[in-house]
Amino acid sequence: MTGRLARTFSSVAAAALTAACASYSEIPIETPIRPTMDVSAFQRVLVAGFISGGSEDVDGNLETTRLLRSQLRNKSGLRVIDTDSLPLLEVANEGRTASGAGTPAAPKDEKEMEMYSNVFANVEYWKKIGEEYQQPLIVTGTVLFTPHQRNSIVQREEEVYDSFGRRRVVPVRGYVERKGFALKPKFIFIDGRTGTVMHSQTASEEILYNANQATPALSSYFELMDRILPGFLSTLSSQKVKGTRVLLQ
């Protein structure tokens, strides 16, 4: 009798488990995202260059220009114009000081970066650039890539032995110094026909490593840009975001 009861219970439990497992299923989906900007009026795009600052280990202007051009070439319907990036720091400096003499120093922080932002509002300058390149969509902006560090509390496990020599593992919390980089680009989209700003978009990402971990600045830059790029691309072209969802019964 007890055996039969146990068998009945186990079969009911198995059925319940099967029912519970069968009541949902994961499914991969691809969500199409429409572009934020209407760029149908343009056939060509000029990634003109960036005012970059912060760490001297990475040339933010050169790397960002290269990266955006290659991404736009592969993931947008626009023809990418290949040319040298514009000396925006000098142009901005001319507008900022009366003399404009000498090569200006790269901005070190956001406050200094802001002082050069007048160049993006220079309609005549951008209109001239637009005429030179057959009125494309112009992508420009600022890139601030700075070293960054933060102390944070982390929990780790530590072995301890009591008076009888018995080993135990206990969680220990402590401060750990972490170093890394912060990347703050501002993408500005200018209409090459009129020289006016159509749209601007800021992003901010940071990455931290343990202090004893030596990660090259350039690889951190690319890691951070990897996170920022989907947002940039979705401004100009429709993207598909892959993911999984759970269907229920």
Partner: protein, 117 residues
């Protein structure tokens, strides 16, 4: 009088019980079929089935959840949000619906982020 009211409630209750059960049963069939076709990539048909399920039984949270996923896959994010919110309203404690909704919100926030000049 009180007896009559009680009798009426019992009769109505007795009638509506099976009717509700039928509606849920039919809706479940639609949901099941919708899942089968979605798994074969036939999302339009799946959406049709899940819409039908929500019409048959508007209190069926799973149907609203699946419909939201279908809308999301088609890029109709406004409709997806509405369907997720309905599913959450019907079953606020369902962790799977909540998880789907959180993932959806991540994508939706990206598209609605306004940083326009």
């Amino acid at each position: 009088m009180r007896m009559k009211v009680l009798l009426l409630v019992l009769v109505l209750g007795g009638l509506s019980g099976p009717a509700l059960a039928d509606a849920r049963g039919d809706a479940k069939e639609q949901v099941k079929f919708g899942i089968a076709v979605a798994q074969r990539g036939l999302w339009r048909e799946a959406i049709y089935r899940w819409e039908r399920a929500t019409q048959l039984d508007p209190t069926y949270a799973a149907a609203h959840n699946n419909l939201a996923i279908g809308y999301e896959h088609e890029g109709d994010l406004n409709k997806a949000r509405g369907a997720y919110e309905k599913a959450m309203e019907l079953e606020p404690g369902n962790a799977l619906i909540k998880q789907n909704y959180e993932l959806f919100k991540e994508i939706n926030d990206r598209t609605t982020r306004k940083d326009v000049q």
